[in-house]
């Protein structure tokens, strides 16, 4: 089958599933029907996504519907992320929703709402990463907000509704800035290009980026960085993030934090590429660096002082996105590659952690870390996974985030940004302290009375196990195709020939360090 058809199918499947579920009445149709459709949607996304990613990584870029959709190797990484994490959290959703229904927290119409918007959410994220039309890109980012509002507020409690309202207001307001950035880019390109109709396509603008007006492009990039940065959760636009993540159902939190933030980062990256071609890399890098460093420092402190497990994780997302931004701010092949690896690694780790927090909440019925003690005694598998997850998110080897953080340090020092590296590393130490507290205080210790012993069901553990395996795999020995595609994606970001990037002496050296570091910790 033609790859562009697969791309269309990839986009259409979750949309169709969502529409189909929306059409079914919630009262009379059994929940199993929704679950079945949900699983079908996940399966389609997983299968089509895998096929597409494999094809793009080994072959040419894929276009669909004229030039409206476009998946290059950069986007492919994110499609893969959506497919993997979407599937995992989607599968995890089934026992989670089951549990909530049994607890009486969700009624049938809310279950339907959950599944409908879950698929729609997947669709909107796929649309975001696959869009080539920059205005559609904005529309799809806006759509991700709209499709997740009811997921965040699905429980219908006052706090959930409050979180949902804040989420939608802050994000629509923030993302609207992105539209202005987009429009400025479009108007600028339309003035230069012979065919103004082509000026909406990112790939069409790219060759003309160098001729655009410098001042306008800077303004456009600032608008885009602020606008899409809101969605990505960068300080000081991150304010919706802790509220939405903490009130949403855990799988949704995982998907929001693991994937959505990264999709927004991809959009920022797309604009960064244009801006760097036009005004040179320094200005966009400074912007990213400022946003990133502020995010890391602020969020590290907040991670440290939070006692609500999901808020803690949410701030940790902010911190990690900040780190990604710092990596992009450092620039150069190593910085970009580290940023991309961090995107993937953090996506996996954070969805793992949110799913585990879901397990913990199923057992303890609270999110207060003060009340959560001795997880490993109550639910041994969950506890073990949680400990591993905490270590992973704190950036210990042999997990994926260690690789990217090492890359960040090396890249930063190589780029002469030692001061930034020192500040960020200090903040990371605070994060390590915070998660060490989680391990010592909550995973270990005596279990409180009144908590039923015994782990959650296997269906609620399998996705986490898969995720952890992937994390370790990436950390220990990065699969060759993945490493190569990260190299290619870095080439796209830097707009340099991939071969040239690959042969850049330092890059080769650092890649060796990645591999060697990973080898070194292998038992």
């Amino acid at each position: 089958m033609d790859m562009s058809q697969i791309l269309v199918a990839l986009l259409a499947a979750p949309l169709a599933a969502a529409l189909a579920m929306a059409a079914l009445p919630s009262k009379s149709v059994p929940r199993a029907a929704f679950v079945a459709l949900h699983v079908a949607s996940l399966a389609a996304v997983c299968a089509a996504g895998t096929a597409l990613v494999v094809s793009v990584l080994t072959g040419p870029e894929v276009y669909a519907l004229g030039a409206w959709f476009h998946v290059d190797r950069l986007a492919a990484l994110f499609v893969a992320l959506i497919a993997v994490i979407g599937t995992c959290t989607g599968v995890y959703s089934i026992p989670y929703v089951q549990h909530d229904v049994e607890e009486g927290r969700l009624d049938p119409s809310q279950v339907k709402q959950y599944y409908v918007f879950f698929s729609l959410f997947l669709f909107s994220m796929l649309l975001t990463v696959a869009s080539n039309n920059i205005i559609m890109m904005w529309v799809s980012v806006e759509l991700t907000t709209l499709s997740t509002v009811f997921l965040v507020g699905v429980y219908g409690t006052k706090l959930a509704l409050e979180a949902a309202w804040k989420y939608v207001i802050v994000c629509t307001a923030g993302v609207a800035f992105g539209l202005f950035g987009t429009l400025l880019v479009y108007a600028n390109a339309a003035d230069i290009m012979a065919d103004a109709h082509q000026a909406v396509f990112w790939t069409a603008i790219l060759p003309y980026a160098g001729q655009m007006d410098h001042g306008l492009m800077m303004i456009a990039f600032v608008f885009a960085a602020i606008g899409f940065g809101t969605k990505a959760g960068l300080f000081p636009m991150h304010t919706w993030l802790p509220d939405a993540h903490s009130e949403a159902p855990s799988p949704v939190s995982g998907l929001l934090s693991g994937v959505l933030l990264k999709c927004a980062m991809l959009v920022v990256l797309r604009f960064l590429i244009l801006a760097a071609l036009c005004v040179g890399p320094e200005f966009p890098q400074v912007v990213m660096m400022i946003l990133g460093v502020l995010s890391v420092c602020y969020a590290a402190l907040m991670v440290y002082r939070q006692s609500d497990i999901k808020r803690k994780l949410a701030y940790s997302s902010c911190e990690n996105v900040g780190l990604v931004a710092v990596c992009f701010g450092i620039g150069g092949p190593i910085g970009i590659a580290a940023g991309l690896i961090h995107c993937i690694g953090h996506g996996l780790v954070k969805s793992l952690m949110f799913c585990l927090s879901g397990n913990v909440m199923m057992k303890y019925r609270t999110r207060d870390l003060g009340a959560i003690r001795g997880v490993v005694r109550v639910a041994p598998v969950t506890g073990a996974l949680l400990a591993a997850g905490c270590l992973a998110i704190a950036g210990f080897p042999p997990f994926a985030l260690f690789v990217s953080e090492m890359g960040f340090v090396l890249g930063g020092v190589a780029a002469g940004q030692a001061a930034v590296v020192a500040i960020v590393v200090a903040a990371l130490v605070v994060v390590i302290m915070a998660f060490a507290h989680v391990i010592t205080g909550s995973v270990l210790g005596e279990a409180p009375d009144g908590v039923e012993r015994g782990d959650v069901g296997p269906l609620a553990l399998a996705p986490e196990a898969v995720l952890l395996a992937l994390i370790v795999w990436m950390g220990v020995a990065m699969p060759g195709p993945l490493a190569a595609s990260i190299g290619d994606a870095t080439g796209i970001v830097l707009q340099q020939d991939m071969q040239e990037v690959a042969h850049d002496g330092l890059f080769v050296e650092i890649s060796g360090v990645f591999a060697g570091g990973a080898e070194g910790v292998r038992p």
């Binding site: 000081p236 304010t239 919706w240 400074v286």
Partner: protein
Amino acid sequence: MLELMLLSLGLSAAGAVLSLLLMRAPAAAKAAACTLGMGAAAASLASGVAAIGSPALLANLGGPVPFADLTVLFNPLAGLLVAVISVLALVAWLFGLSYFNEYYDKGVGALGCFMNLFVASMMMVILCDNAFWFLVFFELMSLTSYMLVIVEGDEKSFKGGFLYLVMAHIGFLMIAVSFFLMASACGSLEFAAFRATAFDPALATAAFALAFFGFGAKAGIVPFHSWLPQAHPAAPSNVSALMSGGMIKIGVFGIMKVCFDLLALSGGQLGWGVLVVVVGAVSSVLGVVYALGEHDLKSLLAYHSVENIGIILLGVGTGIVGWACGNLWLAGIGLMAGLYHLVNHAMFKGLLFLGAGSVLHATGTRNMETLGGLARLMPVTAVCFLAGSLAISAIPPLNGFVSEWFTYQALIGAAMAGGIGMRMVFAFAVVALAITGALAVTCFVKAFGVTFLGKPRSDAAKAAHEVPASMRLGMAALTATCAALGLGAAWFTPIMSGIAASVLAAPAMPAAAGTALVSLETVSVTSPLLIAVLLAVVVGACALARNAANRAHGLKVDPEPWACGYAPDVHMETLASTVAAGVRGFMGPLYGIREGVNSAGAAVAGVFGRAFEAGACGQGTAPAAPSREQRARVPLSESVMSVLRSVGAWFSRLEGGDFRTYIVYIVGALVFFLALIILVR
């Protein structure tokens, strides 16, 4: 004319010496000081008037120090200032003939001596054309006026005097630094050398800014105004008139001299003018807002000096803007408006201070709340004070209106000529002037109404009597001057225009035709004389008709006002605070600014105070540092954690739960980065 000036200085010196010598005989000392002072003032008035119409005269008088000759420059601007101060001095001495009787037991001899020296030093500051001597006389002027402030000898006057001395020295230092900047760049202390040098723009701007704030401190512009309402009321009223009407004008004169004269070759930067206009606008509004809150008649008048200096600076600033843009009309009209208001303010403020002095003389109090009903007992003073109030409120056809009219025209003309930024600045200035004008009306309704109208609210007020002839004569003279400057504006305007032209070294702008005042660029005319004639005719006709009706149908006097059926009572009367409270209710934000300025001032004073204390106490009294053992007991990790926690808690306040502030953060981030773009480019 220089000879006349020297004669005047000599008479002043003689008056000072004689007054001091006759200290034991107060009446003789007073008579000697006043008569010789009046003679000096008359001589200097003549020389000043002569100088207005003559070309500039530069003369070297030699001098005792080898490195700086006493050079004088007698140009039309200096002539104007000399004339204005001479008029005030003349009237002040005249007023003093009776007024100083109160000071027989407070050292009238010293008073006469210092007042003579004060007037003479003001003249010398104006004329001096050498940086060293300028500073010397400037300092002498501050010192002698300080002596005059503390002549009352009570706590309040010492406090006001001290503040005045401190402020005057801050100003003096800034001016000195400014002059030395210029002197070191051109290698001479002669102003002639300054004006022949084209300074580096950055140096010129620094020199201008320093001089502006230095002279501004003398003039009482807003960040440096706090001394004015404390020092001026403390001095004898005729000295207050001389200080408020005359001395603070020397601050404005200094600003003009530095900008248009000393920096003539290197100056004319738009930013200077904008600075002056903005400071002027702020001073004018805050000055009148402060004034409204005052119940002390002389403090109120002193605050109005802040306001009027603001208005003068609006004109001068517009002049600088026009000069910088090469818009000769704007430069001429703006400067002319400023100069005209300078003269006017000297006249009506002198008049009002003399009026306040008369009230003080007659009742022994300056607190308006305890006065009232003086109009019946002191009709001449009341009429003069009313005329001054109308003039300072810029009500046509008196002189305040003329200069404010030109100021408005200049501001609107500047807005017409300028771009976006200029339009915003000048709209701000126009609105500030409008608020000022409206508030000034309120303030003087309060000042005049509460003091002179209604019924007496205290025994002192009931026992008031009209003041002696020499005091009445002094007030009447200034009233006449105010009226003349208003009604005869069409004749005075060309003179002012000529002075402005000489300052700018440009042809004079026509600003009057026949009896009309003309504003060319804003295509408008007005005529105080016509208004006066029409008012006289129409109001007179109305009054005659009404009186005829009264005669035909009767006119009775009912002793008590209507009070809802109750017996009227003194406590029912409207007090000054009533008026102020109303304004306070509506102008809340302005009062907020005022409080902010006050607290900022207090904070600065506190810092200085603490620094002073620290310096005085030395190192011995520092609190004992916690011992090493005590500190070691806290584990490092614990302290780090507590620091992290408290910093985190502080940061977490950023996320207070209100999502509307979150949106503001986003906008803030945007603004920050857009500013970064501007910085980068």
